[in-house]
Amino acid sequence: MFQNFRLAMAWLHTWFGLVLGFVLMAVFFFGALSVFDREIDRWAIPQSRFEPQPMPSFDQVLRPVFESMQPTRENVEAMRGRVNGPMPERFETVRRWGAYTTHRDPVLSIFAGYEVPNAKDPEESVFGSRTIDPRNGQALPDDRLKIGSQFFYPLHYSLNFHWKDIGYWIVGSAALVMLLALVSGVVMHRKIFRELFTFRPKKSTQRSALDLHNLTGVVALPFHFFFAFTGLVIFAGIYFPVTHTQLDPLHELHEKLDAEKTGLPHDRAGVAAPIASVDAMVAEAQRRWAAKGMAGEVGFLALQHVGDANGYVSVYRAGTDRIALTGEGIHFKASTGELLREDPPPTAVARLNEFLTGLHLQHFRHWLLRWLYVLGGLAGCVCIATGFLFFVEKRKRQHAKQGSQGARVVDALAVTTVTGMVVAALGVLIANRLLPDDLPARGSWEQYCFWGTWLLAMAHAFWRTAPVAEGRTAPAWREQCWAIAALAVTAVLLNWLTTGDHLLRTLAQGYWPVAGVDLFMLAGAAVAVLAARRLKRRAERAPAAAGGIAAKAAHA
């Protein structure tokens, strides 16, 4: 299809990069925000603005909450199609209780998985979850949307589009195309070392956009490659469910052998049994870690086959000081507290997998590295956005002569997915502050505001990019930059007005989660204003330069 390899790569980079680039904008931007997802949660849910807490006592605090839980209504509804018969009113048989915390969590998320009677697949569970204050076991109301960890974060890996898991597939395709774009970009970029530090903003928009595209793509190339790659590895089970389909028998064989080897029963015994003191088991686990020279906090606590003689408790160490998410688990017999198994040190392959998934999921404690990740994510956004700008600049005059709307449509979509997306993110935070506190389904309303704002931004984008169809610059970009500046400042002001936590106070108290979000928004507002003014100056210069545009520097 092509004369040579380089041309093939250039074509792939341009067309696949363009189409999936719109998705990648969202993935990189919300991924960057997700680095501080729990901090954004604190901003959005003022009741949770206290210090991170360690895992609380299971016996005193967690057990009563677990015992009062049932699956959520949405999960029960979703399960209806997968059972042969009616769904019970109460789910009595608990397969698993779990609690997970990190050094950044004030509130604790806990979940319970229940057996589903008459399920088509007996291995399926239906889940319930709660968010509690670990200091006293009080539950937070269920409809408080954790805008960071339950909205922005899932948005970046699934577009919050759950019908038939299509969102996961779209993001997965985008990730594969990102890898492709990086490889093809390197092949296309002939002067990759020579131009490593080159950025010429005074030249034509086309040249300076390409310079910035190359710069942000190359300097963070390991980051971009590794994040796209590890993202795919994390969800490999979704994209290639080989061991749950074609090789399911092999998987079952392994589970049976594994249960025999580890002494951790795969199934219930069917005999009821009490639960001994889990706090004592946790203390024993911590003693063993300290004895191995790796004293630490509990990251993940789980009970399997709850209430059964075969039940066991698993205690995992929080991976705060390393890349792996959690340390090797220690397992105890639930009814007596006797030690069943200490997981052996991981194999080389397991360590590789832990490193790859851990570097993406970031449960470690390292503030500099987190901020560098945000920088990398934003660099990725700039790379994609400048890619769009280059595409449009290169073709708009030619399209104008041909009477084609192509460049205009791409520019409108670019505005939508670049500035429009930021406008939507600010919109949901503003809605979070403005909606009445006791509004039922408040979380759902916040989400509608997000999507509604984005749609408005898209409408504005399409309306105000008309000049592109005549080969000129669209005012949509700078108008949305001004909108971003105004909305960001508004959000910060609303935080002050509705919670009293203004910047001077949060900075004085050193409450960084909220101060950090406010400061980040103000910094964003400043950048948006600078950008708007630059764009205006460039637009005013453009007609004068129109005569001499030859745009030869089209490729690297």
Binding site: R194, F197, T198, F199, R200, P201, I323, H366, L369, L372
Partner: protein, 107 residues
Amino acid sequence: MRDALMLAAALAANVAGLGWLALAMDVHWQQVRGRAPQTRAMVRLLRVLGVLGLAGSLALCLAVDHASMASLVWVMALAAAALVVAFTLTWRARWLGVLVAWARTGG
């Protein structure tokens, strides 16, 4: 506090290292020093300094964190440093002159 200082030093070492590597290229040397091209000896010296700067940065990162974390910090710090060097060359090229203040014209 000690960790914070060492990480700051690691960042600075990366900026210096990449700055020296940039200055080993004619186009950037001329942006900074505005004079005739450099000798081969100068170019080689700058490259060696550059590599030493980057290696020093890696050593500092390893002194602060577990190896798996330190390697990530260093790679990301390289990206940040590269942006700093590129933007300095674009808008305040003369500032990088401090890295070669000791050198006479082009060596």
